[in-house]
């Protein structure tokens, strides 16, 4: 959709040169030629509109962005290096802290990669519970995105609605794992805990009431003239450009590429769920908003189906080399105690080789690449960080737009600096 400019004739009652009353057109005096000197402006790292400690150095011609040079690394923690000194299960708490807006999905991603490396088949109940974890993460991540982006563009009310819904999921996460943010939900071969008794009921209550909030947000934003004016035609990327820049997730789909890891390279049995891949058309900020909003509906559908089919049974694989025996067994059974000791002291050894598992995280494709030399600690743990790669297209998207549009474009990428800098 292209922007249209409305030309109004502005005039005021006055007198003409001969002193007779006349309408005098209101025109601005010709702007003095200020030359073409470019201004270098620093934005961030402590700036609320950069969503964390991102620093953008912007070359401006008047108010137009000529060039945008991002500077990263203010939150670099060396997670990948730390991972080389830890057992596979000890890496899981690090994954909480990468994309801290969807910790549960990150936990699942790492566990799937480690299980692929070790050749472990997880139980049916664990598979469904992990799907629930991933989709809950998608909803809270998209809610944070919606709230913060609407604040960036001057809409305050949807922020409150979105964060209220997020708080309800956080309550569920706390109920399940004991933590709101640092969930550390998964273990290699299973989960740290089964869901508590009232969990399924409360989640069902959430899935029943959540679409109402979505429709309220939809009503307040989608046909809002200010919202449309600030987002339509801004930061456009064509499908070919999005593919060329290796974008993934909602950023790629908003440009019209129907690629979703859940459909095209299914994991956790996603091929058996009934949901739609949401695809945009124009690849601008507005389409990214629409894609994320609709993805919340689809996640809600998946949550309902997962609750319907949740089977009974164990959550952990029956393999004492991988899963810790229960405390009572470890204290009363000699063999269980030996396995407990070996797992804690030596860790779980992975066979020589490598495995990459990509999962559809809220931000895009989160890849975990593990290389093992046969010891209990990986030689290399690589995170394919979706928001880092999506952010790399920011200079391309921002050039030629106004400085205030840069805020909208940056918001539309949906970055988490914990993951960008790792």
């Amino acid at each position: 959709m292209s922007k249209r400019t409305v030309e109004l004739e502005l005039a005021t009652p006055g007198v003409d040169a001969a002193g007779r009353p006349a309408r005098v057109p209101l025109t601005a005096a010709a702007e003095p030629d200020l030359g073409s000197e470019h201004l270098l402006m620093n934005m961030g790292p402590q700036h609320p509109a950069t969503h964390g400690v991102l620093r953008l150095v912007v070359e401006l011609d008047g108010e137009t962005v000529v060039r945008c040079i991002p500077h990263l690394g203010y939150l670099h923690s060396g997670f990948e290096k730390l991972g080389e000194y830890r057992h596979y299960n000890q890496i899981i708490p690090l994954t909480d802290r990468t994309d801290y807006l969807s910790p549960m999905a990150n936990n699942v991603g790492l566990a799937l990669a480690a299980e692929k490396l070790m050749g472990i088949e997880i139980t049916p109940r664990c598979t469904v519970l992990r799907v629930i974890a991933c989709e809950m993460s998608r909803i809270i991540s998209h809610m944070v995105w919606l709230g913060t982006t609407s604040i960036d563009l001057g809409a305050f009310t949807p922020f409150l609605w979105a964060f209220q819904e997020r708080e309800r999921i956080y309550d569920l996460q706390e109920m399940w794992t004991g933590a709101r943010l640092t969930t550390s939900l998964t273990r290699v071969g299973g989960l740290m805990a089964d869901i508590p008794d009232q969990f399924a009921g409360k989640l069902r209550e959430f899935t029943r009431t959540f679409p109402k909030t979505l429709s309220e947000i939809d009503r307040v934003l989608t046909r809002n003239a200010v919202w449309a004016g600030r987002t339509q035609g801004v930061g456009t990327l064509s499908a070919a450009e999005a593919i060329n820049h290796s974008l993934s997730g909602p950023m790629l789909r908003a440009s019209g590429v129907p690629y979703d890891v859940r459909k095209d390279k299914p994991y956790l049995g996603y091929e058996t769920y009934d949901f739609d891949v949401v695809v945009g058309e124009h690849g601008d900020v507005f389409d990214r908003y629409l894609v994320r909003l609709e993805e919340c509906h689809q996640s809600n559908r998946i949550l309902e189906q997962a609750l319907d089919r949740l089977p009974d049974g164990p959550i952990n694989v029956d393999d004492p080399r991988v899963i810790l025996p229960s405390k009572t067994r470890a204290m009363s059974d000699m063999e269980a105690m030996i396995f407990h000791f070996k797992q804690v002291m030596e860790g779980v050894k992975a066979p020589v080789g490598e495995a990459y598992v990509g999962i559809e995280n809220p931000k895009g494709e989160l890849g975990n690449y593990l290389v093992s030399d046969g010891t209990a600690k990986p030689v290399r743990w690589r995170i394919r960080p979706p928001s880092f790669i999506n952010l790399s297209a920011l200079p391309k998207m921002a050039e030629g737009h106004l400085l205030s549009d840069l805020v909208a474009i940056n918001a539309s990428v949906d970055i988490v600096m914990g993951e960008v800098d790792r």
Partner: protein, 200 residues
């Protein structure tokens, strides 16, 4: 893989079932172009670029490229082996995928592998004047090479202008208070133009 990949030294199957193609460093660009553009291959999407160094120092470093064909829904992994004793350099694939821009910069930053032909190869996660080496190399200690006291001393002594890249300094009028090594690199014309010191 139905037809043989040009430049392939050998192929392996990873534990996750994907094919790994090992390519000679000097033929990398040619192979990648073939994989991207040949009908029936069409690996149009660069998923990731990374590097691996093994604990066994005798083993060469690997640069790993993850390719995907969005239309055929197929993946392939391309690897280049580099000897740590020789020059660590490969050709950049930026000309084929712009997504390689930051990914190659990160590998350069973390492993010290140079990508020939990359338009803007400088550190990305660490700052430009970072002097401790390449953090993800196995000879880099977990806590860094310098003591905490030395790191703090360097941070306090850093010139605030060093927080801008040389390219940006050539836009702004900020040549006067540059650190000597950056001025030297500017003088060599590595990037941007030399900013005239104010009042000169």
């Amino acid at each position: 893989m139905t037809s043989p990949v040009p430049g392939a030294l050998r192929t392996e199957v990873a534990r996750d079932g994907e094919t790994i193609v090992f390519v000679a460093p000097e033929r990398l660009l040619e192979t990648m172009k073939w994989l991207k553009e040949t009908p029936g291959q069409e690996f149009d999407y660069l998923v990731d670029v990374t590097a691996v160094e093994f604990r066994d120092r005798e083993r060469p470093l690997q640069v790993v490229y993850f390719l995907r064909s969005l239309t055929r829904k197929a993946d392939v992994r391309v690897k280049v082996e580099l000897n740590a004793s020789a020059e660590l350099a490969v050709d950049s694939v930026y000309s084929l995928w712009h997504g390689a821009d930051w990914l190659e910069r990160e590998v350069f930053d973390m492993f010290g592998i140079t990508f020939r032909g990359h338009p803007d190869l400088r550190r990305i996660l660490m700052w430009e004047t970072y002097a401790e080496g390449y953090p993800l190399r196995k000879n880099f200690p977990l806590r860094g090479r310098f003591s905490r006291a030395e790191q703090v001393r360097q941070a306090l002594n850093a010139n605030p202008e060093a927080h801008y890249s040389m390219e940006e300094l050539s836009i702004a009028d900020a040549g006067g208070d540059l650190p000597e090594d950056m001025r030297e690199r500017l003088r060599r014309g590595e990037r941007g133009t030399i900013p005239e010191p104010p009042g000169a």
